[in-house]
């Protein structure tokens, strides 16, 4: 199994040398472990939430709600569902998507065209020094725009297959294979970056 790419997310602190000890500490309601979790993942989650809700203020509220949920529901997390980050990422997506789908938000935000969306991504590509160090940001500019849009719509905005089919004008049956193609492209880029 390959966890090499996720391990960079967890800094090699002596107390939480791997994900398992961190999760065990969290399940034991260790607030120090929770503080560590926040320090290491909050920026990544905040960035994704911000990309979904497109507002610093709302993103802050969502981030707060997400971490409170993580604290409350840590017992529901199991290794079988993927890494702790994947689990937290799913919670963040769900809370953020709930937020933008609530009527209040729809009144405030204006519909964005694909062009605006791409522009927003490029404009606000504020990555932390951690990511800069890896050089991920530069590498990801190599990702084809149509792949980027597809991944963002599905992964960040929670579009359904039907919505993707309509929005991006592709047959319903090909949505999954297109996603596969986009992810393959992403992997190629990440492999290039790795070597």
């Amino acid at each position: 199994m390959c966890y090499a790419k996720t391990t960079f997310l967890v800094k090699s602190f002596s107390t939480y040398s791997n994900e398992k000890t961190l999760v065990d500490a969290l399940k034991a309601e260790d607030k120090q472990a929770f503080s560590y979790l926040y320090d290491n993942y909050s920026d990544a989650l905040y960035g994704v939430i911000n990309r979904i809700v497109l507002s610093d203020e709302i993103a802050g509220d969502v981030l707060q709600e997400v971490f409170v949920k993580i604290w409350k529901n840590i017992d529901n997390y199991s290794r079988e569902k993927g890494s702790i980050f994947t689990w937290m990422m799913n919670i963040s997506r769900n809370v953020a998507i709930d937020q933008i789908r609530s009527r209040q938000y729809q009144n405030e935000a204006q519909n964005q065209s694909i062009e605006d969306f791409v522009y927003d991504i490029d404009k606000s590509e504020q990555v932390t020094s951690q990511v800069d160090h890896i050089g991920l940001k530069e590498v990801l500019t190599m990702l084809k725009p149509e792949h980027k849009i597809l991944i963002n719509k599905v992964y960040f905005e929670g579009y359904t297959q039907e919505e993707i089919s309509q929005e991006l004008d592709m047959p319903l049956g090909t949505v999954k294979t297109r996603i596969r193609a986009a992810m393959q492209h992403l992997r190629q880029i990440l492999n290039v970056q790795k070597t």
Binding site: M1, C2, Y3, A4, K5, T6, L9, K31, S35, Y38, D39, S42, D43, A44, L45, Y46, G47, V48, N50, R51, D56, G60, L63, Q64, F67, V68, W71, E80, G82, S83, F85, T86, M89, R93, S124, Q126, V127, T128, Q130, V131, L136, K137, L140, I151, V154, Y155, G158, Y159, Q161, V175, K176, T177, R178, I179, R180, A181, M183, L186, R187, L190
Partner: protein, 274 residues
């Protein structure tokens, strides 16, 4: 099972990105447990996505962390409170088993008190209405009594006047309107025995500002003052005037306030001969 085809279908990517419905999700999880290659591929996809998400990282506002810890601290406290509260309730119930009955008694007496208060308010307002009606009726009654009394006085006065006018000793002199005021008219009633003189104004214009009507008796061709008419009409239509002895005619002139020693002939309104 063709693992390769399954991976190529993109279902694992869709699963990792949250695009699958519940049935598909369960399918993926079941197959990943069965085939380590699938699980490995899924892990790789999730790791790629984590990296991709990480590339969007943005510095979270500093205050959020404290807010989260505050909220978590609050989550713990209410639980403790509820426990203390429920213990207290249990204790009270054991101490006073009759509390349940007392509650009904309290409820009943509160209800009675409320009903009684409402009745009091209604009765008081009814009593107040009746009292006010009585006061109004009393006022009406005394008004009627006063009217009766004043009518009696008026009737007595009219009776008196009738006697004066209808007496055979009384000479009636009609004074007709002169050139100045042809519409005017007045009567003089003169009792030769008692020497009483009365004037009855039938029609006279109101006197001019600062002026007053004066009655004259013409005795042997000379006008003699027979008294001033009141400025305003009185209840009695007959006005008692001065005694003036034998007269052949009467006249009313408009004079200055208080009267004149001799009549102003141009201001004569009415005149009549016996």
């Amino acid at each position: 099972m063709n693992i390769e085809a399954y991976i190529e279908s993109g279902v694992l990517e869709s699963y990792a990105m949250g695009l699958c419905d519940e049935a598909e999700q369960m399918d993926v999880e079941r197959l990943c447990k069965m085939y380590p290659e699938l699980q490995a591929e899924l892990d790789r996809i999730q790791a790629d996505l984590a990296l991709y998400a990480q590339s969007h990282a943005k510095k979270a506002p500093a205050h959020i962390k404290q807010a989260i810890f505050d909220e978590i601290d609050l989550l713990e406290k209410p639980v403790a409170k509820i426990q203390i509260h429920s213990k207290k309730e249990v204790y009270q119930e054991e101490e006073k088993p009759s509390l349940f009955n007392n509650k009904w008694l309290i409820a009943a007496s509160v209800t009675m008190f409320v009903l009684s208060s409402i009745t009091n308010v209604i009765l008081y307002s009814k009593w107040k209405d009746a009292n006010q009606q009585m006061i109004a009726l009393n006022a009406e009654k005394s008004l009627l009594a006063e009217n009766t009394k004043s009518n009696q006085v008026k009737m007595d006065l009219m009776k008196n006047e009738m006697q004066i006018i209808s007496s055979p000793e009384v000479a009636k002199v009609m004074m007709k309107g002169m050139e100045k005021s042809p519409e005017s008219m007045a009567m003089v009633y003169w009792n030769k025995n008692t020497r009483e003189v009365f004037v009855e104004v039938k029609k006279l214009p109101p006197p001019a500002e600062g002026m007053q009507y004066q009655l004259w008796a013409i005795v042997d061709g000379k006008p003699m003052d027979a008294g001033m008419l009141p400025m305003e009409p009185t209840d009695s239509s007959l006005i008692k005037m001065k005694d003036f002895g034998e007269a052949q005619a009467f006249a009313i002139t408009q004079e200055k306030m208080g009267g004149s020693p001799s009549p102003t002939m141009t201001e004569m309104l009415v005149m009549g001969e016996i």
